[in-house]
């Protein structure tokens, strides 16, 4: 049994929280004491339990009846364990939605069947795609309120297909649902006989998430283990997670930035020696030569080198209230390696409304754009499109230390 992390996105009032509530409720994942609290809180007449109350956890959220920040919810079926990021629908809280999207394998975009594709649908679809999500489900919700119309379902599906070309999803499923009454969420609805696809839950259970095993091998040293006690006097191990690809004993590797070549003599996982490690595993690598290596250095295979450059073009999602400043120095954190950078130029901006790039000179809160930057030291990376693990970074403000931007490197 593996895990699927997914985010639910969509406009305010499109029923995201209700949808999650429905998934949890119908899969028996809500405890009785929590149900008791929900029953007490439910104020709507004629409704036994307001399912949307399951996810809104902050006082301010309940007061306003909106979602401000991502809430994580957990449930499992016999086939899979699920981690749901319930993201805010308000444009104001887009950066919290970006946090949720960046940690998801799949995006469920809710569309109100009565309203069709809106600006916020397009914004969320753009962000999900940009943050590296490859799988999408377009849940056409409140289908009960349009008399289970196949025509409306197809109309919305076609509208989304028309804008799909600009997005990087490699698989999109369209499902007519009603979160409120439960159509096609866990059980197949009898009211949509024209719909031949799977229910939402079944789709979530079966969708395959591509593995990073077959990409170029990437490893950054996260932590150096050097006990220096008597028993382990000569122990020098480089701990970290295999970001992509695989490493095995005997591999010829190159250390970056030093450029020194050596080979892997031992791989440990939880103090056991193993022959080979693959993407996602936490291991300790031991090298043939005693070289000065520290946190943030890359260990890559000599025949699979990454791009090396201190001038980069990159996608950016801006997350700070203060706009990006050209010429200002920021800290760029490329996983375990931080360098200083200056923004050289803003090249263009993605206009969600017109669904096209426009020339731009500034990037503000929640904007998506492309910029050019220069770093004080070379970075060793791949394009985000090719490798989402070595092709991303964050921008940190030098004075507030807030995370102000999400970067996705372009080739």
């Amino acid at each position: 049994m593996n895990t699927l992390k997914f985010i639910t996105a969509g406009n305010v009032d499109d029923g995201k929280s209700t949808l999650i509530g429905r998934l949890l409720y119908d899969s028996d994942s809500i405890h009785t004491d929590q149900l008791g609290v929900l029953q007490k809180q439910t104020k709507q007449e004629g409704v036994e339990i307001d399912l949307s109350l399951i996810t809104d956890g902050l006082r301010a959220e309940r007061e306003q009846g909106i979602t401000i920040d991502v809430a994580y919810k957990y449930f499992s079926t016999k086939k899979r364990k699920f981690i749901i990021a319930d993201a805010p629908g308000h444009e104001q809280y887009t950066r919290n939605m970006i946090t949720g999207a960046s940690n998801s394998d799949l995006i469920v975009i809710l569309v109100d069947a009565r309203k069709g594709i809106t600006l916020q649908t397009k914004r969320h679809a753009s962000i999900g795609s940009l943050m590296g999500i490859k799988k999408a489900i377009i849940a056409i919700n409140k289908i009960d309120l349009v008399e289970y119309s196949e025509f409306i379902f197809n109309d919305i599906k076609n509208a989304f297909e028309a804008i799909r070309g600009e997005l990087a999803y490699d698989e999109i499923a369209y499902i007519p649902v009603s979160a409120l009454v439960g159509d096609n969420i866990v059980a197949k609805s009898l009211k949509t006989p024209w719909f031949e696809g799977d229910t939402l839950l079944s789709t979530l259970e079966h969708i395959e998430v591509p593995s990073k095993e077959n990409l170029a091998s990437r490893f950054q040293v996260q932590w150096v283990i050097r006990p220096k006690d008597e028993e382990n006097h000569d122990y020098r191990g480089y701990a970290g997670q295999i970001l992509s690809g695989q490493y095995q004993i005997g591999d010829q590797v190159k250390i970056l930035p030093s450029g020194i070549e050596t080979s892997i003599v031992k791989i440990e996982k939880q103090q056991q020696t193993i022959e080979k490690a693959i993407a996602g595993e936490n291991v300790v690598l031991h090298l043939a030569d005693n070289i000065d290596i520290s946190r943030g250095d890359s260990i890559v295979k000599s025949d699979e080198l990454p791009i090396t450059s201190n001038e980069l073009k990159t996608w950016i999602c801006w997350l700070d209230n203060a706009p990006l400043q050209i010429g200002k120095t920021y800290i760029l954190q490329h996983r375990f390696r931080s360098v200083r950078i200056k923004i050289q130029s803003v090249d263009r901006k993605w206009d969600v409304n017109q669904w096209q790039f426009n020339d731009a000179e500034e990037v503000k809160l929640n904007d998506i754009g492309q910029i050019s930057l220069r770093a004080n030291q070379p970075l060793f990376f791949d394009s985000f499109e090719e490798n989402s693990k070595s092709g991303n970074a964050i921008l940190v403000d030098e004075t507030t230390f807030n995370t102000v931007g999400a970067l996705m490197f372009l080739a």
Partner: protein, 301 residues
């Protein structure tokens, strides 16, 4: 299916990654250790992250003075066994030092008072990060928290202004005086913790397994009699086979009737139970809907 795609391995890999990130990014981190199952699992994960090296942080226990003696004994036993440093901060001391008023009522909780001892020990030792075993599935406010959760000089959490946390890149840069709470097992559920304990046969205090205990029946909950909680004449007192599902203060943690003698029995119990962990065992979370959020804003874990 390869080993690493199993969900328990995924959770473990994520937790080890976070522990190492905390160790690398902060000058003086600490691991908050309560003697409860979640922090015992944290210690187990830290062994995997840092051995054969030493832990790059001490274990810190906030002793409320109302802890179960079994939990305290286990805390000392474990710290000694693994040979890591243990620092104990005493809530009793803070109560005297600040002349704090105890919570009133029959089953007082020192939860809110713990914050004083925690913030003091952070300041004394200049800890810039505290690693804790809180999980998002425990409670609504926790479901909202980041992995690296930044607190201001008063230890306060501002839930409306959390830092974005993108992909698995963790930003631990903070201003002087601020500190970060780090939650490596954020994405674990109660059942995941138990499945993990079973998989690696992680040693636990015997409180977690069924044993006979004298309890007061309070509403529908069983509260053990102890030096802190004496039965009144009007109380119904029973001797029952119980176990603890969570281990908090003796004054406000309820036991659950159970015959579970093994970890597998406990797992079976949990799968059948329809009540949440905190709902079944904590008398202090039910005071108000936002009890946890309010405590967290004040600097609680």
């Amino acid at each position: 299916m390869s080993n690493s795609t199993h969900y328990l391995n995924q959770l473990e890999d994520e937790a080890i990654y976070i522990l190492r990130e905390a160790a690398a990014q902060f000058e003086k981190p600490a691991l908050l250790f309560s003697g409860g199952k979640d922090s015992i699992v944290l210690v187990h994960l830290a062994l995997k992250a840092f051995r054969p090296g030493k832990f790059p942080f001490p274990l810190v226990h906030i002793d409320t003075g109302h802890n179960f003696p079994e939990a305290i004994a286990f805390r000392d036993y474990l710290a000694n066994k693994i040979g890591e440093k243990l620092i104990v901060a005493s809530v009793e001391d803070s109560i005297r030092k600040y002349n704090l008023k105890e919570t009133q009522g029959r089953f007082p909780s020192r939860n809110a008072l713990q914050t004083y001892a925690l913030l003091d020990i952070i300041q004394e030792n200049e800890f810039d990060a505290c690693i804790g075993g809180a999980r998002r599935d425990e409670e609504k406010a926790r479901a909202k928290e980041r992995i690296f959760s930044v607190r201001d000089d008063f230890g306060q959490w501002d839930p409306k202004l959390q830092r974005p946390e993108l992909w698995d890149i963790l930003n631990g840069k903070i201003q002087k005086g601020h500190n970060v709470r780090v939650f490596p097992i954020s994405n674990w559920t109660e059942l995941d913790v138990w499945n993990y304990i079973k998989k690696y046969n992680v040693e636990l205090p015997n409180l977690y397994f069924a044993h006979e205990r004298e309890c007061i029946v309070h509403q529908d909950k069983l509260v053990a009699t102890s030096e802190f909680i004496q039965p009144l004449e009007t109380d119904t007192v029973v001797v029952e086979k119980v176990r603890y599902r969570t281990v908090g203060d003796m004054t406000c943690t309820a036991a659950v009737p159970s015959e579970a003698a093994t970890i597998q029995d406990i797992i079976d119990d949990i799968i059948q139970t329809r009540v949440s962990e905190r709902g079944q065992t904590r008398l202090d979370d039910q005071l108000s809907e936002a009890a946890m959020e309010d405590r967290k804003k004040q600097g609680y874990f």
